[in-house]
C-alpha cells in the first residue's frame, strides 16, 4: 500500500523516508562473550566477569545461545542466514567501553536480507505493507555511566557491558510515523514470539535509532539524520514527525539538512545535534583477531528452525480460517501471551468464533478493569472454556454467562460449580415460559394491539420482559418461539 502521509510545506507536499536500526537485547542467561549473568536491575558491577571489565589478557569466547537466538530471529523474518560470518572490532574510547572497542559485525553479518509485513489497518488485509530488513548483526552492549553519584565524578556500571544485542537494520522503506510504529510493534511481537528478546522498551532491552529524510514525492532520497536510542514506539513516531517537520522547514528556508547524529528530548519533544559528520568517529573496524569466523553447521540451523514457534502472521491466518474475524484475529495475535492464552482456550474445546468474541469483549474488559495482564488472568483458560461451553450447549444464556464470569473472577471457582450453586441454569420449560408470557401479554394489552397493528419492533420488548420475568434463565430461543406462536 502506498502511503499518502505528507508534510505540508510552503513549496508543496513532502514525503518522509524512514529507516530504523533496532537494538534488541538477546534473551540469554549469559553475555555474548563471557559467562557473566544478564539480569536487569542488579546492583551496579555485580554482573561483570574479567572479560567484561577487559582485564589484561582476557579473551572473548562466543556464547552459542546468543548466536542461536539471532539465527532464530533471522529465520522468523524470512531472512538469509549467513553460514559464514565474522566479528569485527569497532574502535573508540569511552568510559563505558572497557575494551576500547565494541565487538560487532560490520563486514559479514550473521543474518542478511529479510522482511516484515505490517498491517496499517488491523481490519484490512489490503493495508498490508512489506518492510525490507537489510541485515541483523550481533554485537556487545556497552556499560552505563552514572553522573548522579558524586558531585565531580562519574561512576561506571559494567553490568550491561558485553550483553548480546541484535542490531536489526531495516531498509528505508517506511513513509509515515504510523508505518514506523506498525513496523516496531510487529518486530517486537515477532521477537517476543521467538523468545529472542523480551521487547521491554522501558528497561532498554529494545531501542531504536531513527533515520529520517524528506523529499518531494518521486525525487531522490534527501540527506538523512539519525536520532539515537529512542526507547518507545510513541517517541519513535514523535521523532519522525518532529524531524520531518524540522527538515522541511530548514530546506524551505534555504538551508541544508546536515548528515548528523541527533538525540531526542522527550520532555521538550525536540531533537538536537549530538555530533555532526565532521565529528564522526573513525571506528577503524577490522576483523577481531581473538575470534575465528563463525561457521554454522546444517544441523545447528535445522535445530534453530525446528525450535521456532508459530509466528504472528501464520497464527492470524489460522485463526481467520477458524471463522474468527480479521480484527479479532489481529488483536488476539498481537501479543504472544494473548495468543498463547487463546490457543489454550481453543485446546480446552472452546468454539473459536464465540471464544474470540468473548476474549476481546469480556475478558479484555475485565482484565482492564482489574489492571491485570492476561498471564495473571484470574480465570484460567480451562475455566473459560467451561463457561463458553455452558453457553454453547444452552445450559446458560449469554447474559447469565456475564454474571457467572463475574462470580468466577471473584471466587476463582469453575463455571459449572457456580451455575449449579446459584441455580442459574437456563430453562426451556415451555410451561413456565408460557405462564410468564401470558401474564406479560395480559398486562400489556395496548402494546399487543400496537404490535398486531404493525409495530414489529415491539417484539424485542416482549422478549425482554419475558427474560426479565424469568430472571434471565429462560432459553432465548424458546422464548422467541413461544412469543411468535402467541402473537403471530
Amino acid at each position: 500500500m502506498v502511503s499518502d502521509y505528507r508534510i505540508q510545506g510552503a513549496t508543496g507536499d513532502w514525503e518522509v523516508v524512514i529507516g530504523l536500526e533496532v537494538h534488541a537485547q538477546v534473551v540469554s542467561n549469559a553475555k555474548l562473550f563471557s559467562g557473566a549473568a544478564t539480569a536487569f536491575g542488579a546492583e551496579p558491577n555485580t554482573q561483570v566477569s574479567l572479560v567484561d571489565a577487559a582485564m589484561p589478557g582476557m579473551l572473548p569466547v562466543p556464547n552459542r545461545e546468543c548466536i542461536r537466538q539471532a539465527v532464530r530471529t533471522g529465520m522468523a523474518i524470512d531472512a538469509q542466514i549467513n553460514k559464514w560470518s565474522r566479528f569485527d572490532r569497532k574502535n573508540y574510547f569511552y568510559a563505558d567501553l572497557p575494551q576500547g572497542y565494541q565487538i560487532s559485525q560490520l563486514y559479514h553479518p550473521l543474518v542478511g536480507e529479510g522482511q516484515i509485513t505490517v498491517l496499517l489497518d488491523e481490519k484490512d488485509e489490503a493495508s498490508a505493507k512489506t518492510i525490507g530488513i537489510e541485515r541483523i548483526h550481533v554485537e556487545q552492549d556497552a556499560g552505563k555511566l552514572m553522573h548522579d553519584q558524586h558531585p565531580t565524578m562519574s561512576y561506571v556500571d559494567l553490568n550491561r557491558s558485553g550483553v548480546a544485542l541484535m542490531e536489526i537494520v531495516s531498509k528505508p522503506d517506511m513513509r509515515s510515523p504510523a508505518e514506523a510504529g506498525a513496523y516496531l510493534r510487529k518486530l517486537r511481537a515477532i521477537l517476543r514470539y521467538v523468545g529472542s528478546c523480551d521487547g521491554n522498551m522501558e528497561e532498554g532491552s529494545m531501542r531504536a535509532d531513527v533515520n529520517v529524510s524528506v523529499r518531494k514525492p518521486g525525487e531522490e532520497f534527501g540527506t538523512r539524520t539519525e536520532t539515537k536510542n529512542v526507547n518507545s514506539v510513541r517517541f519513535v513516531m514523535a521523532v519522525i514527525e518532529h524531524e520531518a517537520r524540522r527538515q522541511v522547514d530548514l530546506i524551505e528556508e534555504g538551508g541544508q539538512v546536515a548528515q548528523e547524529t541527533r538525540l531526542y528530548d522527550p520532555d521538550k519533544n525536540v531533537t538536537r545535534t549530538l555530533r555532526s559528520k565532521e565529528d564522526a568517529h573513525d571506528y577503524r573496524y577490522f576483523p577481531d583477531p581473538d575470534l575465528l569466523p563463525l561457521e554454522l553447521e546444517d544441523s545447528f540451523l535445522e535445530e534453530c528452525r525446528a525450535s521456532l514457534p508459530e509466528l504472528p502472521d501464520a497464527k492470524r491466518k489460522r485463526f481467520e480460517a477458524l471463522g474468527i474475524t480479521a480484527y479479532n484475529a489481529s488483536v488476539l495475535t498481537a501479543e504472544v501471551e494473548t495468543a498463547r492464552w487463546f490457543d489454550s482456550l481453543l485446546d480446552a474445546g472452546a468454539e473459536p468464533k464465540q471464544a474470540a468474541n468473548w476474549v476481546v469483549a469480556e475478558l479484555f474488559g475485565a482484565l482492564n478493569r482489574l489492571g491485570k495482564s492476561i498471564e495473571d488472568s484470574p480465570v484460567s483458560a480451562t475455566h473459560a472454556a467451561e463457561l463458553l461451553g455452558l453457553v454453547a450447549d444452552g445450559t446458560i444464556s449469554g447474559s447469565i454467562a456475564k454474571t457467572v464470569f463475574e462470580k468466577m473472577i471473584e471466587s476463582g471457582d469453575g463455571a459449572s460449580a457456580i451455575v449449579e450453586r446459584e441455580g442459574l441454569k437456563q430453562t426451556s420449560d415451555t410451561g413456565a415460559i408460557d405462564a410468564e408470557i401470558d401474564k406479560i401479554l395480559a398486562a400489556n394489552a395496548d402494546k399487543v394491539a400496537e404490535y398486531k397493528g404493525g409495530k414489529q419492533q415491539l417484539f424485542g420488548f416482549f422478549v425482554g420482559q419475558t427474560m426479565k420475568a424469568m430472571q434471565g434463565k429462560a432459553n432465548p430461543g424458546v422464548v422467541n418461539e413461544r412469543l411468535r406462536a402467541k402473537l403471530d
Binding site: L50, G100, V156, D290
Partner: protein, 493 residues
C-alpha cells in the same frame, strides 16, 4: 651438589627423582642465583617464597611417590603472563603495581605440573622490541660479553630478554617466553640457548597480555632441545577460554625425540640469503645444512617468493592489532591513572596514556591507528592481510618439497645497548628471518650453532609444518648433537 643452576631441566628432574638432591636445594640455589644476578636486571619481581613452596611440595610428593612432570623444577615467568597476586605489568608503567586476581592458562598449567616460580622476567614493553630496551624497568644486560675486551653491555635480545638472559646466566633452568614476530627465537639466538614457538593455537593465550592477537604465541626457552620439549608438553593444550586455541591432544614430544633424520628433506630458502648479513652467519647456515645432511636429511633448495614482503606486512598487522588491544589501558579500571586538574575524560585518557606508555609502544599505536584509518585501510591493512595469505601459501607449497626449513635465526649476533634504539628500522630488521613463520602461524625454533668471531652466540632457525613441532625438535636435536655448543657466558656479575 653445587652448580645445580647450570644443569638442564632433564638433569634436575632425573637427579631429583633419583634422590641426588632435593627440590628445596634446587630452589635455594636458583633463588641465590637470582639474587646474585640483580645487576643483569633480569627479574622485575622475585618470588623466592613461591619457588620454595613448590619445592617443598615436590619434596613431599617424592616421599609419597606422587610426582608431577615438573616437580622440583623452578621456572621464570615472562612478565607478559598474568600471575595471580604477583605484579604482572608487561614491562609497562601503565600497569605498574597491577596484581591480577587470576593466573594465565599457560603459567597455571606449568604450576599444576609441579613447577615453582622464581619471579617475573623483564621484557620489552608489551613485547614490543627486539632488545629489551623498551622496558619500563630498564634494559636487561646480557651475561655475554664480546671477546674484544670492550666490556660493552650487550642486549640479550627481545622481547623475551629477561627470559633469555635468565637461562643464559643460570638464573632459571627454563622460562616462558612469548613470540609475536621472533620474541622467543631472536633472544634465544643472542644468548646461546634454545627456544621454540609452537604452532599458533597450541598454547592458550588466556591471561597473556595481548600484543598482536593473531600472532602471539607462548613457548619455552631453555638450555637445550630436550628441555624445550619437556616444558612445551606442559604448556600446550586446548583451552575453552581462548577461541583460537586448538582442540587437539598434546603430543609426547620428549618421548618422540630422535636425531635420526633419514628420509627427511630440509628446505633451504633462497630468499633468505640477503645483503648485509655477515658472512659468518651464512657460513654457520651452511654448516647447519651439513649437520642435518650428516643426520640423514637431504637438503633441497626451496623458494619462498614473498619473503621480502614479510617484514612490512608484519609491521602493519601487528601494530594494527596492538593499537586496538592496548585501548583498554585507559586509566578507568586498573593501572595508572593521570587526571589533570579540571580535565575531562579525554584529558584523562591523554594524560594517562602519555605518561604510561613508552616511545616504542606509542609509535606502534600510531602506526596501527594509521593503517586502520578510513582512506588508508585498504592500502595498508587489507593489502597486508592479502600478502599474509600469500606468505602462508609460500610455506604450504614449500612443504610439498621438504619436511622442515633451515635458516639463520637473526641477521646478526647480539648488539650493544643503545646501538639501535635511535633507528627503529634497523631494530625491526632483527626479525627478518623470524617474522614469516609468525605470519604463517608455523612452529619455529632457534638452536645454538656456534660463536661468531667476537665470541657471541649465533642461532640456527628451524621452521616446521603446521603442528609438526616434533619435526623441528628432532632436527634441532640433530644440530645440537653436532654443533657441540657448550659455551657459557663467563660470570662477571
Amino acid at each position: 651438589m653445587g652448580e645445580l643452576n647450570i644443569k638442564t631441566i632433564a638433569q634436575l628432574r632425573d637427579g631429583f627423582r633419583a634422590g641426588e638432591f632435593s627440590a628445596r636445594e634446587i630452589a635455594e640455589e636458583f633463588n641465590a642465583a637470582v639474587e646474585a644476578g640483580r645487576a643483569l636486571n633480569v627479574y622485575t619481581v622475585e618470588t623466592p617464597e613461591n619457588a620454595l613452596a613448590a619445592a617443598d611440595a615436590a619434596d613431599q610428593a617424592r616421599q609419597s611417590s606422587d610426582l608431577k612432570p615438573l616437580s622440583g623444577i623452578p621456572l621464570g615467568i615472562k612478565d607478559l603472563f598474568a600471575t595471580e597476586g604477583v605484579d604482572s605489568t608487561s614491562g609497562s608503567n601503565i600497569l605498574k603495581g597491577f596484581k591480577p586476581p587470576y593466573e594465565s592458562t599457560v603459567s597455571g598449567k606449568l604450576k599444576a605440573a609441579g613447577a615453582g616460580m622464581l619471579g617475573k622476567l623483564n621484557m620489552d614493553e608489551f613485547a614490543m622490541g627486539s632488545s629489551n630496551e623498551t622496558s619500563a624497568y630498564g634494559p636487561v644486560i646480557s651475561p655475554w660479553k664480546r671477546n674484544d675486551g670492550s666490556n660493552a653491555a650487550l642486549t640479550p635480545g627481545g622481547s623475551s630478554g629477561g627470559s633469555s638472559a635468565a637461562v643464559a646466566a643460570g638464573m632459571a633452568p627454563g622460562v616462558t617466553g612469548t613470540d609475536t614476530g621472533g620474541s622467543i627465537r631472536q633472544p634465544a639466538a643472542f644468548t646461546g640457548i634454545t627456544g621454540i614457538k609452537p604452532t599458533y593455537g597450541r598454547c592458550s593465550r588466556w591471561g597473556i597480555v595481548a600484543f598482536a592477537s593473531s600472532l602471539d604465541q607462548a613457548g619455552p626457552m631453555a638450555r637445550d632441545v630436550r628441555d624445550c620439549a619437556i616444558l612445551l608438553e606442559n604448556m600446550c593444550g586446548f583451552d575453552p577460554k581462548d577461541a583460537t586455541s586448538l582442540d587437539l591432544p598434546v603430543p609426547q614430544w620428549e618421548a618422540g625425540l630422535s636425531s635420526d633424520l633419514k628420509g627427511k628433506k630440509v628446505g633451504i630458502p633462497v630468499e633468505y640469503r640477503i645483503d648485509g648479513v655477515p658472512e659468518e652467519i651464512d657460513a654457520l647456515w651452511d654448516k647447519g645444512v651439513e649437520w642435518l645432511r650428516d643426520a640423514g636429511a637431504e637438503p633441497v633448495k626451496i623458494s619462498l617468493p614473498h619473503t621480502k614482503y614479510a617484514l612490512p606486512t608484519y609491521y602493519i598487522i601487528a601494530p594494527a592489532e596492538a593499537s586496538s588491544n592496548l585501548a583498554r589501558y585507559d586509566g578507568v579500571r586498573y593501572g595508572l591513572r593521570e587526571s589533570p586538574e579540571g580535565g575531562n575524560l579525554d584529558a584523562m585518557y591523554a594524560a594517562t596514556r602519555s605518561a604510561g606508555f613508552g616511545a616504542e609502544v606509542k609509535r606502534r599505536i600510531m602506526i596501527g591507528t594509521y593503517v586502520l584509518s578510513a582512506g588508508f585501510y585498504d592500502a595498508y591493512f587489507t593489502k597486508a592481510q592479502k600478502v599474509r595469505t600469500l606468505i602462508k601459501r609460500d610455506f604450504a607449497q614449500a612443504f610439498g618439497e621438504c619436511d622442515f626449513i633451515l635458516t639463520p635465526t637473526a641477521p646478526s649476533a647480539a648488539f650493544g645497548l643503545n646501538e639501535k634504539m635511535s633507528d627503529p628500522l634497523a631494530m625491526y630488521l632483527n626479525d627478518v628471518f623470524a617474522v614469516p613463520a609468525s605470519l604463517a602461524g608455523l612452529p619455529a625454533m632457534s638452536v645454538p650453532g656456534g660463536l661468531d668471531s667476537q665470541g657471541l652466540p649465533l642461532g640456527l632457525h628451524l621452521i616446521g609444518r603446521e603442528l609438526d613441532e616434533q619435526g623441528i625438535l628432532n632436527a634441532a636435536l640433530a644440530i645440537e648433537e653436532r654443533a657441540g655448543f657448550t659455551h657459557r657466558a663467563e660470570k662477571w656479575w
